[in-house]
Symmetry: C2
Subunit: 213 residues, 2 copies
DNA sequence: TAGATTGTTAATCGATTAACAATC
DNA sequence: TAGATTGTTAATCGATTAACAATC
Protein backbone atom coordinates (compact mmCIF):
# COMPACT_ATOMS: atom_id res chain seq x y z
CA UNK A 1 0.00 0.00 0.00
CA UNK A 2 2.19 2.77 -1.28
CA UNK A 3 1.03 6.34 -0.74
CA UNK A 4 2.35 9.08 -2.95
CA UNK A 5 6.09 8.94 -2.49
CA UNK A 6 7.58 11.84 -0.52
CA UNK A 7 10.88 13.12 -1.85
CA UNK A 8 13.99 12.76 0.29
CA UNK A 9 14.47 16.52 -0.01
CA UNK A 10 11.28 17.00 1.99
CA UNK A 11 12.11 14.28 4.52
CA UNK A 12 15.50 15.84 5.08
CA UNK A 13 13.83 19.07 6.14
CA UNK A 14 11.37 17.53 8.58
CA UNK A 15 13.79 17.17 11.52
CA UNK A 16 14.61 20.85 11.32
CA UNK A 17 10.92 21.79 11.30
CA UNK A 18 10.48 19.53 14.30
CA UNK A 19 13.27 21.28 16.15
CA UNK A 20 11.87 24.76 15.58
CA UNK A 21 8.35 23.69 16.41
CA UNK A 22 9.57 22.05 19.61
CA UNK A 23 11.24 25.28 20.64
CA UNK A 24 8.13 27.29 19.86
CA UNK A 25 6.05 24.84 21.85
CA UNK A 26 8.41 25.17 24.81
CA UNK A 27 8.06 28.93 24.60
CA UNK A 28 4.30 28.52 24.83
CA UNK A 29 3.57 29.62 21.25
CA UNK A 30 0.28 28.07 20.16
CA UNK A 31 0.01 28.99 16.51
CA UNK A 32 2.27 30.14 13.75
CA UNK A 33 1.80 31.17 10.13
CA UNK A 34 4.00 29.89 7.34
CA UNK A 35 5.24 33.45 6.96
CA UNK A 36 6.40 33.79 10.55
CA UNK A 37 8.00 30.36 10.50
CA UNK A 38 9.62 31.34 7.23
CA UNK A 39 11.25 34.38 8.83
CA UNK A 40 12.44 32.30 11.77
CA UNK A 41 13.89 29.43 9.76
CA UNK A 42 15.05 31.38 6.75
CA UNK A 43 13.28 29.32 4.16
CA UNK A 44 10.42 30.48 1.92
CA UNK A 45 6.88 30.37 3.23
CA UNK A 46 5.96 28.71 -0.02
CA UNK A 47 8.29 25.83 0.66
CA UNK A 48 6.92 25.40 4.15
CA UNK A 49 3.35 25.16 2.87
CA UNK A 50 4.32 22.80 0.07
CA UNK A 51 6.26 20.59 2.47
CA UNK A 52 3.45 20.31 5.00
CA UNK A 53 0.90 19.68 2.31
CA UNK A 54 2.67 16.53 1.27
CA UNK A 55 1.07 14.99 4.31
CA UNK A 56 -2.38 16.56 4.10
CA UNK A 57 -3.78 19.78 5.46
CA UNK A 58 -2.22 20.64 8.78
CA UNK A 59 -3.18 24.28 8.75
CA UNK A 60 -6.24 26.40 8.65
CA UNK A 61 -6.86 29.33 6.34
CA UNK A 62 -6.72 32.68 8.05
CA UNK A 63 -5.24 31.10 11.19
CA UNK A 64 -2.02 29.33 10.40
CA UNK A 65 -0.72 26.15 11.95
CA UNK A 66 -1.26 24.86 15.45
CA UNK A 67 2.23 24.39 16.85
CA UNK A 68 1.50 21.45 19.14
CA UNK A 69 -0.56 19.60 16.57
CA UNK A 70 2.00 20.13 13.83
CA UNK A 71 4.82 19.06 16.13
CA UNK A 72 3.08 15.80 16.93
CA UNK A 73 2.15 15.21 13.31
CA UNK A 74 5.71 15.61 12.06
CA UNK A 75 6.99 13.43 14.88
CA UNK A 76 4.57 10.75 13.77
CA UNK A 77 5.58 11.04 10.12
CA UNK A 78 9.20 10.56 11.19
CA UNK A 79 8.19 7.49 13.16
CA UNK A 80 9.13 9.03 16.49
CA UNK A 81 5.94 7.77 18.11
CA UNK A 82 7.46 4.30 18.10
CA UNK A 83 10.33 2.77 19.99
CA UNK A 84 13.42 1.32 18.39
CA UNK A 85 15.96 -0.88 20.11
CA UNK A 86 19.52 -0.38 18.97
CA UNK A 87 22.92 -1.92 19.49
CA UNK A 88 26.29 -0.34 18.86
CA UNK A 89 28.93 -2.39 17.11
CA UNK A 90 32.35 -1.01 17.90
CA UNK A 91 33.12 0.05 21.48
CA UNK A 92 35.76 2.62 20.55
CA UNK A 93 35.56 6.31 21.29
CA UNK A 94 32.79 7.10 18.87
CA UNK A 95 30.71 4.07 19.85
CA UNK A 96 30.97 4.98 23.52
CA UNK A 97 30.13 8.61 22.75
CA UNK A 98 26.94 7.56 20.97
CA UNK A 99 26.09 5.08 23.71
CA UNK A 100 26.36 7.83 26.27
CA UNK A 101 24.16 10.21 24.33
CA UNK A 102 20.96 10.11 26.35
CA UNK A 103 18.94 12.35 24.05
CA UNK A 104 18.36 9.46 21.66
CA UNK A 105 16.41 7.75 24.41
CA UNK A 106 14.03 10.70 24.59
CA UNK A 107 13.20 10.19 20.92
CA UNK A 108 12.41 6.54 21.39
CA UNK A 109 15.78 5.01 20.52
CA UNK A 110 16.71 2.58 23.26
CA UNK A 111 20.29 1.50 23.78
CA UNK A 112 20.32 -2.23 24.38
CA UNK A 113 23.71 -3.72 23.65
CA UNK A 114 27.25 -3.11 22.57
CA UNK A 115 29.70 -5.34 20.74
CA UNK A 116 33.40 -5.37 20.06
CA UNK A 117 35.86 -7.85 18.67
CA UNK A 118 38.57 -6.70 21.07
CA UNK A 119 38.49 -9.04 24.12
CA UNK A 120 39.98 -6.29 26.29
CA UNK A 121 36.86 -4.19 25.80
CA UNK A 122 34.39 -7.02 26.35
CA UNK A 123 32.89 -6.83 29.81
CA UNK A 124 33.24 -3.06 30.04
CA UNK A 125 29.99 -1.23 30.21
CA UNK A 126 28.56 2.02 28.91
CA UNK A 127 25.57 3.46 30.74
CA UNK A 128 24.88 0.07 32.26
CA UNK A 129 25.05 -1.71 28.90
CA UNK A 130 27.66 -4.43 28.72
CA UNK A 131 30.10 -4.86 25.85
CA UNK A 132 29.72 -8.35 24.39
CA UNK A 133 31.95 -10.37 22.07
CA UNK A 134 31.10 -10.45 18.36
CA UNK A 135 30.23 -14.14 18.52
CA UNK A 136 27.04 -13.32 20.38
CA UNK A 137 25.80 -10.80 17.80
CA UNK A 138 23.20 -12.82 15.90
CA UNK A 139 21.81 -14.53 18.98
CA UNK A 140 21.47 -11.25 20.86
CA UNK A 141 19.72 -9.52 17.97
CA UNK A 142 17.13 -12.22 17.56
CA UNK A 143 16.52 -12.74 21.30
CA UNK A 144 16.12 -9.04 21.95
CA UNK A 145 14.31 -7.96 18.78
CA UNK A 146 16.89 -5.37 17.92
CA UNK A 147 15.79 -2.88 15.26
CA UNK A 148 18.88 -0.81 14.54
CA UNK A 149 22.59 -1.57 14.46
CA UNK A 150 24.97 1.37 14.77
CA UNK A 151 28.28 0.70 13.06
CA UNK A 152 31.21 2.49 14.66
CA UNK A 153 33.95 0.22 13.39
CA UNK A 154 36.67 0.72 10.78
CA UNK A 155 35.62 0.30 7.17
CA UNK A 156 37.59 -2.91 6.78
CA UNK A 157 35.43 -4.76 9.29
CA UNK A 158 32.26 -2.85 8.43
CA UNK A 159 31.67 -4.73 5.18
CA UNK A 160 31.83 -8.18 6.74
CA UNK A 161 29.78 -7.17 9.78
CA UNK A 162 27.15 -5.74 7.43
CA UNK A 163 27.02 -9.11 5.70
CA UNK A 164 26.38 -10.80 9.01
CA UNK A 165 23.68 -8.27 9.81
CA UNK A 166 22.02 -9.00 6.47
CA UNK A 167 21.33 -12.47 7.83
CA UNK A 168 19.45 -11.15 10.86
CA UNK A 169 16.07 -9.48 11.33
CA UNK A 170 17.60 -6.09 11.85
CA UNK A 171 15.67 -3.27 10.16
CA UNK A 172 18.26 -0.56 9.79
CA UNK A 173 21.92 0.32 9.97
CA UNK A 174 23.25 3.67 11.08
CA UNK A 175 26.63 3.56 9.42
CA UNK A 176 29.57 5.63 10.63
CA UNK A 177 32.14 3.54 8.74
CA UNK A 178 33.57 5.25 5.70
CA UNK A 179 32.34 2.78 3.15
CA UNK A 180 29.18 2.19 1.12
CA UNK A 181 27.31 -0.84 2.38
CA UNK A 182 25.36 -3.09 0.08
CA UNK A 183 22.33 -4.49 1.82
CA UNK A 184 18.95 -6.00 0.98
CA UNK A 185 16.18 -3.49 0.42
CA UNK A 186 14.45 -4.32 3.67
CA UNK A 187 17.42 -2.97 5.64
CA UNK A 188 17.48 0.81 5.67
CA UNK A 189 20.90 2.43 5.70
CA UNK A 190 21.75 5.93 6.82
CA UNK A 191 25.36 6.99 6.44
CA UNK A 192 27.22 9.50 8.57
CA UNK A 193 30.49 10.10 6.81
CA UNK A 194 32.27 12.54 9.08
CA UNK A 195 35.29 12.97 6.87
CA UNK A 196 33.05 13.86 3.91
CA UNK A 197 31.51 16.55 6.02
CA UNK A 198 34.92 17.86 6.99
CA UNK A 199 35.95 17.96 3.33
CA UNK A 200 32.94 20.06 2.45
CA UNK A 201 34.00 22.46 5.17
CA UNK A 202 37.50 22.48 3.77
CA UNK A 203 36.14 23.26 0.30
CA UNK A 204 34.14 26.18 1.61
CA UNK A 205 37.15 27.59 3.44
CA UNK A 206 39.25 27.43 0.27
CA UNK A 207 36.51 28.87 -1.87
CA UNK A 208 36.00 31.82 0.46
CA UNK A 209 39.75 32.39 0.51
CA UNK A 210 39.80 32.48 -3.30
CA UNK A 211 36.86 34.83 -3.57
CA UNK A 212 38.68 37.34 -1.43
CA UNK A 213 41.75 37.30 -3.66
CA UNK B 1 37.66 36.92 -8.41
CA UNK B 2 34.69 34.66 -8.52
CA UNK B 3 34.85 31.72 -10.93
CA UNK B 4 31.63 30.12 -12.08
CA UNK B 5 29.94 29.03 -8.89
CA UNK B 6 29.84 25.28 -8.34
CA UNK B 7 26.59 23.96 -6.92
CA UNK B 8 26.62 22.40 -3.47
CA UNK B 9 25.12 19.27 -5.01
CA UNK B 10 28.33 18.77 -6.95
CA UNK B 11 30.57 19.59 -3.98
CA UNK B 12 28.68 17.12 -1.86
CA UNK B 13 29.56 14.35 -4.31
CA UNK B 14 33.29 15.12 -4.52
CA UNK B 15 34.33 13.36 -1.29
CA UNK B 16 32.71 10.16 -2.50
CA UNK B 17 34.52 10.39 -5.86
CA UNK B 18 37.72 10.94 -3.93
CA UNK B 19 37.12 7.85 -1.83
CA UNK B 20 36.54 5.60 -4.85
CA UNK B 21 39.45 7.05 -6.76
CA UNK B 22 41.71 6.55 -3.74
CA UNK B 23 40.70 2.91 -3.59
CA UNK B 24 41.30 2.44 -7.29
CA UNK B 25 44.68 4.10 -6.94
CA UNK B 26 45.59 1.76 -4.09
CA UNK B 27 44.62 -1.18 -6.27
CA UNK B 28 47.00 0.08 -8.92
CA UNK B 29 44.32 1.06 -11.44
CA UNK B 30 45.73 3.78 -13.69
CA UNK B 31 42.79 4.85 -15.80
CA UNK B 32 39.04 4.60 -15.67
CA UNK B 33 36.19 5.61 -17.96
CA UNK B 34 33.11 7.41 -16.73
CA UNK B 35 31.16 4.31 -17.64
CA UNK B 36 33.24 1.97 -15.47
CA UNK B 37 33.22 4.42 -12.58
CA UNK B 38 29.49 4.74 -13.07
CA UNK B 39 29.01 0.98 -12.64
CA UNK B 40 31.19 1.01 -9.54
CA UNK B 41 29.60 3.96 -7.82
CA UNK B 42 26.05 3.46 -9.03
CA UNK B 43 25.58 6.90 -10.45
CA UNK B 44 25.12 7.79 -14.13
CA UNK B 45 28.17 8.21 -16.34
CA UNK B 46 26.59 11.41 -17.55
CA UNK B 47 26.57 12.85 -14.07
CA UNK B 48 30.20 11.91 -13.55
CA UNK B 49 31.28 13.69 -16.73
CA UNK B 50 29.16 16.74 -15.93
CA UNK B 51 30.55 16.90 -12.41
CA UNK B 52 34.18 16.67 -13.47
CA UNK B 53 33.69 19.18 -16.23
CA UNK B 54 32.74 21.83 -13.74
CA UNK B 55 36.43 22.08 -13.05
CA UNK B 56 37.79 21.81 -16.57
CA UNK B 57 38.76 18.85 -18.69
CA UNK B 58 40.24 16.11 -16.56
CA UNK B 59 39.77 13.36 -19.09
CA UNK B 60 40.84 12.48 -22.56
CA UNK B 61 38.58 11.32 -25.35
CA UNK B 62 38.96 7.67 -26.19
CA UNK B 63 41.01 7.09 -23.05
CA UNK B 64 39.04 8.06 -19.98
CA UNK B 65 40.38 9.60 -16.81
CA UNK B 66 43.79 9.14 -15.22
CA UNK B 67 43.04 7.91 -11.72
CA UNK B 68 46.03 9.46 -9.96
CA UNK B 69 45.68 12.78 -11.68
CA UNK B 70 41.96 12.97 -11.02
CA UNK B 71 42.47 11.99 -7.39
CA UNK B 72 44.94 14.80 -6.85
CA UNK B 73 42.80 17.28 -8.74
CA UNK B 74 39.71 16.58 -6.64
CA UNK B 75 41.78 16.70 -3.47
CA UNK B 76 43.01 20.11 -4.49
CA UNK B 77 39.51 21.36 -5.29
CA UNK B 78 38.45 20.26 -1.82
CA UNK B 79 41.38 22.15 -0.34
CA UNK B 80 43.03 19.00 0.99
CA UNK B 81 46.43 20.16 -0.23
CA UNK B 82 46.51 22.64 2.62
CA UNK B 83 46.77 22.21 6.36
CA UNK B 84 44.18 23.36 8.84
CA UNK B 85 44.67 23.67 12.57
CA UNK B 86 41.64 22.84 14.64
CA UNK B 87 40.54 22.94 18.25
CA UNK B 88 37.73 21.02 19.87
CA UNK B 89 35.41 22.86 22.22
CA UNK B 90 33.72 20.41 24.54
CA UNK B 91 35.79 17.58 26.05
CA UNK B 92 32.89 15.19 26.50
CA UNK B 93 32.59 11.80 24.86
CA UNK B 94 32.05 13.06 21.34
CA UNK B 95 34.80 15.66 21.57
CA UNK B 96 37.26 13.07 22.79
CA UNK B 97 36.19 10.64 20.09
CA UNK B 98 36.87 13.24 17.40
CA UNK B 99 40.17 14.21 19.02
CA UNK B 100 41.26 10.61 18.91
CA UNK B 101 40.35 10.17 15.27
CA UNK B 102 43.76 10.17 13.65
CA UNK B 103 42.50 9.93 10.06
CA UNK B 104 41.74 13.64 10.05
CA UNK B 105 45.46 14.27 10.46
CA UNK B 106 46.14 12.37 7.23
CA UNK B 107 43.89 14.80 5.38
CA UNK B 108 45.69 17.83 6.72
CA UNK B 109 43.51 18.60 9.72
CA UNK B 110 45.78 19.07 12.73
CA UNK B 111 44.47 18.74 16.25
CA UNK B 112 45.91 21.56 18.33
CA UNK B 113 43.81 22.23 21.39
CA UNK B 114 40.80 21.28 23.43
CA UNK B 115 38.59 23.36 25.69
CA UNK B 116 35.99 22.72 28.33
CA UNK B 117 34.17 24.80 30.89
CA UNK B 118 34.20 21.95 33.40
CA UNK B 119 37.24 22.44 35.69
CA UNK B 120 37.36 18.70 36.38
CA UNK B 121 38.19 18.04 32.74
CA UNK B 122 40.77 20.79 32.41
CA UNK B 123 44.26 19.37 32.51
CA UNK B 124 43.23 16.02 31.05
CA UNK B 125 44.71 15.29 27.71
CA UNK B 126 43.63 13.59 24.50
CA UNK B 127 46.37 12.33 22.20
CA UNK B 128 48.84 14.61 23.91
CA UNK B 129 46.60 17.65 23.57
CA UNK B 130 45.71 19.31 26.85
CA UNK B 131 42.22 20.39 27.81
CA UNK B 132 42.24 24.11 28.60
CA UNK B 133 39.72 26.31 30.39
CA UNK B 134 37.32 28.39 28.29
CA UNK B 135 38.92 31.62 29.49
CA UNK B 136 41.94 30.90 27.34
CA UNK B 137 39.98 30.38 24.14
CA UNK B 138 40.50 33.68 22.31
CA UNK B 139 44.14 34.00 23.29
CA UNK B 140 44.92 30.45 22.18
CA UNK B 141 43.20 30.87 18.82
CA UNK B 142 45.08 34.03 17.96
CA UNK B 143 48.47 32.84 19.22
CA UNK B 144 48.21 29.53 17.36
CA UNK B 145 46.46 30.65 14.17
CA UNK B 146 43.64 28.20 14.59
CA UNK B 147 41.53 27.70 11.45
CA UNK B 148 38.66 25.50 12.59
CA UNK B 149 36.71 25.15 15.82
CA UNK B 150 34.82 21.93 16.38
CA UNK B 151 31.79 22.42 18.60
CA UNK B 152 30.89 19.38 20.67
CA UNK B 153 28.99 21.12 23.40
CA UNK B 154 25.26 21.24 24.23
CA UNK B 155 23.16 23.62 22.18
CA UNK B 156 22.61 25.94 25.12
CA UNK B 157 26.28 26.86 25.33
CA UNK B 158 26.90 26.55 21.57
CA UNK B 159 25.19 29.83 20.73
CA UNK B 160 27.25 31.91 23.15
CA UNK B 161 30.50 30.15 22.27
CA UNK B 162 29.78 30.80 18.59
CA UNK B 163 29.40 34.48 19.43
CA UNK B 164 32.80 34.47 21.07
CA UNK B 165 34.27 32.70 18.06
CA UNK B 166 32.80 35.36 15.79
CA UNK B 167 35.18 37.79 17.47
CA UNK B 168 38.24 35.73 16.57
CA UNK B 169 40.07 35.04 13.31
CA UNK B 170 38.71 31.54 13.06
CA UNK B 171 37.71 30.53 9.53
CA UNK B 172 35.24 27.74 10.09
CA UNK B 173 33.07 25.94 12.59
CA UNK B 174 32.27 22.25 12.45
CA UNK B 175 29.12 22.24 14.48
CA UNK B 176 27.83 19.14 16.27
CA UNK B 177 25.49 21.09 18.52
CA UNK B 178 21.83 20.75 17.62
CA UNK B 179 21.22 24.37 16.84
CA UNK B 180 21.57 26.70 13.84
CA UNK B 181 24.43 29.12 14.35
CA UNK B 182 24.34 32.63 13.00
CA UNK B 183 27.78 33.77 12.01
CA UNK B 184 29.44 36.34 9.77
CA UNK B 185 29.90 35.28 6.18
CA UNK B 186 33.63 34.87 6.51
CA UNK B 187 33.13 31.99 8.96
CA UNK B 188 32.10 28.80 7.18
CA UNK B 189 29.76 26.51 9.07
CA UNK B 190 29.20 22.83 8.50
CA UNK B 191 26.58 21.16 10.65
CA UNK B 192 26.52 17.54 11.74
CA UNK B 193 23.14 17.01 13.30
CA UNK B 194 23.25 13.40 14.42
CA UNK B 195 19.71 13.29 15.70
CA UNK B 196 18.43 14.59 12.35
CA UNK B 197 20.23 11.74 10.67
CA UNK B 198 18.69 9.26 13.09
CA UNK B 199 15.24 10.67 12.40
CA UNK B 200 15.67 10.15 8.68
CA UNK B 201 16.56 6.55 9.43
CA UNK B 202 13.48 6.27 11.59
CA UNK B 203 11.33 7.65 8.78
CA UNK B 204 12.69 5.14 6.32
CA UNK B 205 12.03 2.27 8.71
CA UNK B 206 8.43 3.37 9.17
CA UNK B 207 7.91 3.92 5.50
CA UNK B 208 9.23 0.49 4.59
CA UNK B 209 6.98 -1.01 7.26
CA UNK B 210 3.96 0.73 5.74
CA UNK B 211 4.78 -0.31 2.21
CA UNK B 212 4.74 -3.92 3.27
CA UNK B 213 1.30 -3.62 4.83
C1' DT C 1 -18.10 40.77 7.03
C1' DA C 2 -13.16 41.81 6.11
C1' DG C 3 -8.65 40.24 6.75
C1' DA C 4 -5.52 36.69 7.02
C1' DT C 5 -3.54 32.75 5.53
C1' DT C 6 -3.80 28.26 3.77
C1' DG C 7 -3.97 24.79 -0.08
C1' DT C 8 -2.96 24.30 -4.67
C1' DT C 9 -2.03 25.39 -9.44
C1' DA C 10 1.11 27.50 -12.57
C1' DA C 11 5.74 29.44 -13.58
C1' DT C 12 10.48 29.27 -12.86
C1' DC C 13 14.63 27.55 -11.80
C1' DG C 14 18.19 24.13 -11.32
C1' DA C 15 19.86 19.55 -11.57
C1' DT C 16 20.05 15.26 -13.96
C1' DT C 17 20.04 12.50 -17.98
C1' DA C 18 20.36 11.70 -22.94
C1' DA C 19 22.54 12.35 -27.15
C1' DC C 20 26.13 13.15 -30.17
C1' DA C 21 29.86 15.75 -32.41
C1' DA C 22 34.68 16.40 -31.30
C1' DT C 23 38.88 14.19 -30.70
C1' DC C 24 42.24 11.19 -28.72
C1' DT D 1 42.28 4.44 -39.42
C1' DA D 2 38.53 2.69 -36.38
C1' DG D 3 36.96 2.49 -31.85
C1' DA D 4 36.40 4.50 -27.58
C1' DT D 5 35.17 7.96 -24.74
C1' DT D 6 35.15 12.62 -23.48
C1' DG D 7 33.17 17.40 -23.46
C1' DT D 8 29.15 19.73 -24.23
C1' DT D 9 24.60 20.89 -25.91
C1' DA D 10 19.81 19.80 -25.71
C1' DA D 11 15.92 17.40 -23.42
C1' DT D 12 13.84 15.92 -19.37
C1' DC D 13 12.80 15.71 -14.88
C1' DG D 14 12.11 17.37 -10.27
C1' DA D 15 12.20 20.85 -6.84
C1' DT D 16 11.40 25.55 -5.56
C1' DT D 17 8.99 29.79 -5.83
C1' DA D 18 5.15 32.75 -7.13
C1' DA D 19 0.46 33.65 -7.42
C1' DC D 20 -4.12 33.48 -6.19
C1' DA D 21 -8.65 31.37 -5.41
C1' DA D 22 -10.69 29.01 -1.51
C1' DT D 23 -11.96 29.45 3.07
C1' DC D 24 -11.49 30.06 7.93
Amino acid sequence: MEEKEISQAVIGRLPRYLRYLGELKDEGVERISSQDLSALMKVTASQIRQDFNNFGGFGQQGYGYNVGYLYDAIGKILGLDRQYKFIIIGAGNLGRALGNYINFEKRGFIFRGMFDQNPDLVGNSVRGVRVMPMEELERFISENDIDIAVLTIPKTSAVSVAERLAGTDIRAIWNFAHVDLNLPERIQVENVHLSDSLMKLSYNISRYQQEKE
